[in-house]
């Protein structure tokens, strides 16, 4: 697997002459993305702005974003992984037959044309949304796109970036990464961070019922997670920190109202390209910030006697 080959949106704005949106609808979900970073901006390297850029949209249906794109490729639902794998084969001049391409809903001619344009680009960028990462195949669909972006660097500069949403999710990943070395799915029960999505990721832990308490900050799993996970949240003591009363608060034991970050609480938000942005509150709030609540809980716990008498032992032969 490739890892993430990425850049900041500033580079996209100044240099990207070939832009692919895969499984996302930026016109409606990230409405300022086109105008601020990808399509309309003029720069030293792209003096004519939109005219210097080629935009491709890959999605299962024609959304509003299709109007803004030069090329729209309608992929058959659930065939993203196959299409990306075919593209990986085609960039290496491997033979894929017309019938094999047809199962993705596209034709060989269209894909060859796309690859020609990709290879001819000076700076390509691929943005992928939840249409890719949340459909069948999940992490492997994203891995396929990231690997394609990595392999395109044999021909020209190419990067990939996820289209993140929902407030500061990127921030959570970034902070976890520099604190523990891993972005998510981390267990600290042995005294050192261990990473294993599927075993330690929140949704899997909740679905299996492997936890006896839940502490939720600024998220609403009660609205998005599968039924067994929600049932388990209702069963165990759940504590929610949120500015609003959410679905999760309704099934929790404790809800602590906090000041909304960026509006009434200061802090740092992370843009989807992992650039930190200071948040200056515009309003005053009677409620404490998330940070203050967590800090006070931590201080109270620190006053209690230490129940961990022995240092935890590392698992032998752990890799």
């Amino acid at each position: 697997m490739g890892g993430k080959v990425t850049c900041t949106l500033g580079e996209v704005k100044n240099r990207a002459d070939f832009i692919v949106y895969w499984g996302g609808n930026p016109a409606e979900c990230h409405p300022r993305h086109f105008t601020k970073y990808t399509l309309m901006q003029k720069s030293k390297f792209l003096p004519r702005g939109r005219k210097d850029r080629t935009v491709v949209l890959v999605d299962i249906r024609e959304t509003k974003s299709a109007k803004a794109a030069d090329h729209f490729l309608q992929v058959r639902p659930g065939k993203d992984f196959e299409l990306l794998t075919i593209l990986r084969a085609l960039i290496k001049d491997q033979k894929v037959s017309e019938e094999q391409v047809a199962e993705t809903g596209l034709s060989l001619e269209v894909l060859k044309d796309l690859i020609e344009k990709m290879k001819a680009a000076k700076f390509g960028v691929m943005f992928f949304g939840m249409g890719l990462s949340m459909t069948r195949g999940k992490h492997m669909n994203a891995a396929a796109l990231l690997t394609l972006a990595a392999e395109m660097n044999a021909f020209t500069k190419f990067v990939a970036m996820p289209m993140r949403g929902h407030g500061n999710v990127t921030g959570a990943d970034v902070i976890m990464r520099w604190q523990t070395g891993y972005p998510f799915g981390i267990s600290l029960n042995r005294g050192y961070p261990r990473y294993n999505p599927g075993e330690f990721s929140t949704v899997d832990v909740l679905v299996r019922g492997d936890t006896d308490c839940a502490f939720i900050i600024g998220a609403d799993p009660g609205a998005t997670m599968p039924k067994p996970a929600i049932d388990h949240l209702a069963k165990v003591p759940t504590i929610v920190l949120d500015p609003h009363v959410t679905h999760t608060s309704r099934l929790s034991r404790v809800h602590i109202t906090t000041a909304p970050a960026g509006i009434a609480a200061p802090g740092t938000g992370y843009r989807m390209d992992e650039v930190p942005m200071p948040l200056k509150p515009a309003l005053q709030s009677p409620y404490p910030s998330d940070e203050e609540v967590v800090r006070r809980i931590r201080e109270t716990i620190a006053l209690r006697p230490d129940w961990m008498t022995n240092q935890p032992q590392m698992i032998e032969a752990q890799i």
Partner: protein, 274 residues
């Protein structure tokens, strides 16, 4: 033959990490040492006898009883002896195992035999995801030994496996043999989609028709001799592969061209009855 018998007397509320339950450790331990060995109930370090009734000592044969679906890392990195469980077991069963034998009369969790390099695992029930796979970020999964699952298995069976054999009698979900580097996966009841995706080398044998990735190319039909050799080797483990050219043949597909790889997928096809 002396045995160490463990009976689960108290269900763990959260996961119980019990990598101490291996024949290598118990072979050297007295009854008292086994009772006081440390298991991790979530973050809490507890004695083994808080969860298990312990019988016997100093034996490389372990027998477990009870529903241990939250007990993880059983038989971790074992090199000898045997471990038998009557009931379900949790994740990482026999991970990093180098030798010996595991038999589970129940279902197993995810990561059965992950990165193992020798020995045998037999799961009589169903197995979870990532059977014989590589851990996240690791370059190679299973490097030797044999895993037999009588029931079905989840996604990513044999992900990045390098050597060894996996036999799944039931059906498997998506991505069987993902990024496979070598070894053999035998699918008794076929697979869902994306079998052999991104494989470099290795062999996937399916006894039922399966959907293939569009990046595989058909390369003829055959009755390879090695199938008969494999069948003879696997017969003591209760698996047989058909290879009678009067009855049928194997359709061979090679790929995955996106890598580009030299892996092969063999699909058994019976001749139409005339």
């Amino acid at each position: 033959m002396s045995e160490v018998i463990l009976r689960l007397k108290q269900d763990p509320v959260v996961t119980l990490e019990a990598e101490v339950i291996t024949p290598d450790k118990f072979a050297e331990m007295s009854h008292e040492q086994i009772c006081e060995s440390i298991v991790y109930h979530g973050k809490r370090q507890l004695r083994l006898d808080e969860f298990f009734e312990v019988e016997g000592e100093k034996s490389e044969h372990i027998v477990l009883h009870g529903d241990m679906h939250r007990v993880r890392h059983l038989g971790r990195a074992m090199t000898m002896g045997s471990l038998t469980a009557h009931g379900d077991v949790g994740m990482h069963l026999g991970a990093h195992m180098k030798g010996g034998e595991i038999c589970i009369r129940g279902n197993a969790g995810d990561w059965v035999g992950a990165e193992m390099s020798g020995g045998k695992i037999h799961v009589r029930g169903e197995a979870g995801q990532q059977v014989g796979a590589a851990y996240r970020g690791s370059l190679a999964g299973m490097k030797g030994g044999i895993i037999i699952v009588d029931g079905s298995a989840g996604i990513e069976v044999g992900m990045r496996m390098k050597r060894g054999t996996i036999f799944i009698r039931g059906s498997v979900k998506d991505f069987a043999g993902l990024q496979m580097i070598g070894g053999t996966i035998i699918l008794g009841e076929g697979a869902e989609i994306r079998t052999g995706a991104w494989m470099q080398r290795g062999t996937i044998i399916s006894l039922k028709p399966i959907d293939l990735m569009p990046t595989f190319g058909e390369s003829g039909v055959m009755n390879p001799t090695f199938i008969s050799v494999y069948s003879n080797l696997l017969k003591p483990h209760g698996c047989e592969l058909p290879n009678d050219q009067n009855l049928g043949c194997y359709r061979r597909f090679s790929g995955d061209r996106s890598v580009p790889g030299k892996g092969e997928i063999l699909i058994w096809q019976e001749h139409a009855l005339n």
